[in-house]
Symmetry: C2
Subunit: 364 residues, 2 copies
């Protein structure tokens, strides 16, 4: 079996604690001969700033670029609230996305049946929910130039960001979304603010052109504000939602929160297939953040992190069977009644990070 | 009593139907000698395009600029989906906001007790909800330049919008929000994406400076994506949320949807007080749209429109007692069990636009 390389960036806060549980699963699958992962670990976010004064070192960036897949924990915390802007923890994430060309962010929002009651929404609105948000991740207002604060004198400043999309960027994310829709419910909503944004007008024009190549997929346009509303009103009307970087940030958070299982949701960020090898760069990451308030207490839920690793098995390594097995193990411990503190329920057993990791491993 | 001028722009779709009910209330208050409104009516949106090929005529813009307050219905509909960009129905709204200098958009999200069950959220999460979103309305990505689509050749185009804020724009909206917080729960959340946007960094810097002048108001910073999440998770943690034009668009729609009473929510858009007269330009508008699907059926809920008129009485004319009376009449018909189709409930009487308007009038 060819050796596959994984680069782990646990990051800050609970990131380090939940990554440990992924390492145990990798150790198990290697020991069983199911995988042959070579593992390296680096620093990203606040811990990297503390170590070398940058959100991520050049060395670790080089390793991320060489790895078959990056497994990312979470970054940030109040400790680094006042570091210089380009060294803040999030800068690591943004640079990894940009330099690895990870333009396609897959954010599933799935409501685990066992957890439907944990949602703020009424059970019948979220039970069985299965939405996939496909967020553009390397363009838009996150990276457009100019992006600056100018001093105008007289105590006045001007802050500018630039929302910019080119045809090819919209075309490729739309194709990823339509391809994925075909493997699911065959329905797409494309969300933008074309009623006020020119980038939205172009977005819609390009997505509609792509839609013609997928006449078997039901296509719908929706304004981003209405999409946010409809996610709350009746989320099950959605299958795949494709949208830009900024709207994707917000809409995927709303969708994730609907499920009542934020600590359970993984995500994947994928690059374009290499012209020669067909391989795509990829980074896998839980949807939740570094949760500084509960860091170090051993109570963080490792499920989103483990599910992110399962996504890596599926999307980067084609190990469908093993991915299914890991996801099955997660569903099975939930069915057994195990919960972490974030999803604690009456009549269910609340366990810590390690115990949850061990329970999942035991199922494997 | 001085004559006050109201300029009515019913707009498209249900806009015209619900405005009729406001006109009846004005006729009543004039007849009772409680008000002395001089009324004029114009065209905005698709109907204006059909009449003169523009989303709003220069003539009507001049009237809007002269009026003490503009009462706006709703614009848009599939009929105008393909009109040129600068003539689309929304252009009327954007031009009114910009040319009247209506930088402060007040969007209350109130959960009427009688309607708590209509929310997608569990009753205990929304019962008693009372959030005020203060949205900046004349800046940001809505109006920043460049805003254009450029042809790059080879089938490639580039769409650009510019998110821009200057210190004074942030300062004045923050002060409106803090002043309003003082009249309510004394708590503010300022929402931005300062972790990725320079305009967000400036936004936060200026709002924090203003906060120092309001040390009695509890100040919180929140990232816009987290704010969207928290609105779903636990909306009652919020009192006043101040945010920019684009985030305000989305967050206020989420907040409105939480209440289960979209057809009930009014909004106000206010300008700066005139240096000499102290008067501020203002436009009042329901949060919901033109609902083309139910237009012409006589079933649209006129409550948001009538409540918008009540906001005009309160904010533009200082007629607090009359405003209270109109709002009380709305609460009272709801308590009586009257509902429009949008909030129809078992064991409650579903009535049409006219009947609802008449019932409110009867209470006055
Ligand atoms: C941490 C932050 C830069 C990031 C983003 O805005 O993309 C996060 O919110 C996310 O959604 O991954
Ligand atoms: C109609 C549209 C231009 C408008 C906006 O985006 O501001 C609407 O969504 C609103 O919130 O008033």
């Amino acid at each position: 079996m060819a050796t596959h390389s994984l680069f782990l960036l646990p990051g800050d806060g609970i990131g380090t604690e939940i990554m440990v549980e992924v390492e145990k699963i990798i150790a198990w699958s290697n020991a069983e001969g199911l995988t042959d992962f070579a593992i390296d670990t680096g620093l990203a976010g606040g811990c990297a700033y503390d170590a070398h004064g940058e959100a991520i070192s050049e060395d670790d960036m080089a390793k991320a670029l060489k790895a078959d897949a990056v497994i990312f924990g979470a970054v940030g915390g109040p400790k680094w609230d006042n570091v210089p802007y380009d060294k803040r923890p999030e800068a690591a994430l943004l640079r990894l996305r940009k330099d690895l060309g990870l333009f396609a962010n897959l954010r599933p929002a799935i409501c685990y049946p066992a957890l439907a009651d944990a949602s703020a929404l009424k059970r019948e609105l979220v039970e069985g929910l299965d939405i996939l948000i496909v967020r553009e991740l390397t363009g838009g207002v996150y990276f457009g130039e100019p992006k600056e604060i100018t001093d105008l004198g007289n105590g006045q400043k001007r802050g500018v960001d630039t929302q910019v999309y080119e045809t090819y960027e919209i075309d490729r994310i739309a194709r990823v979304a339509f391809d994925l829709a075909r493997t699911r419910g065959n329905k797409i909503h494309s969300a933008d603010k074309k009623n006020v944004m020119k980038s939205g007008v172009l977005w819609d024009e390009v997505v509609r052109t792509v839609a013609k190549d997928y006449s078997d997929v039901a296509f719908n346009h929706i304004l981003a504000d209405n999409c946010a509303m409809q996610l709350v009103r009746n989320p099950k009307q959605f299958d795949v939602i494709v949208t830009d970087n900024l709207f994707g940030d917000i809409l995927s958070d709303v969708a994730a929160m609907l499920t009542g299982s934020l600590g359970m949701l993984p995500s994947a960020a994928l690059g374009a297939p290499d012209a020669v090898t067909g391989k795509r760069k990829a980074m896998y990451e839980p949807v939740h953040g570094s949760a500084p308030d509960i860091a170090g207490k051993g109570i963080a839920n490792p499920i989103a992190m483990i599910a992110s690793h399962a996504m890596a098995l599926r999307y980067s390594f084609g190990m469908i069977e093993l991915a299914d097995k890991v996801e099955g193990a997660i569903a099975s411990v939930l069915a057994d009644g195990l919960r972490c503190a974030d999803i604690a329920q009456d009549n269910r057993k609340t366990v810590g990070t390690e115990e949850m990791g061990a329970a999942i491993l035991a199922k494997l």
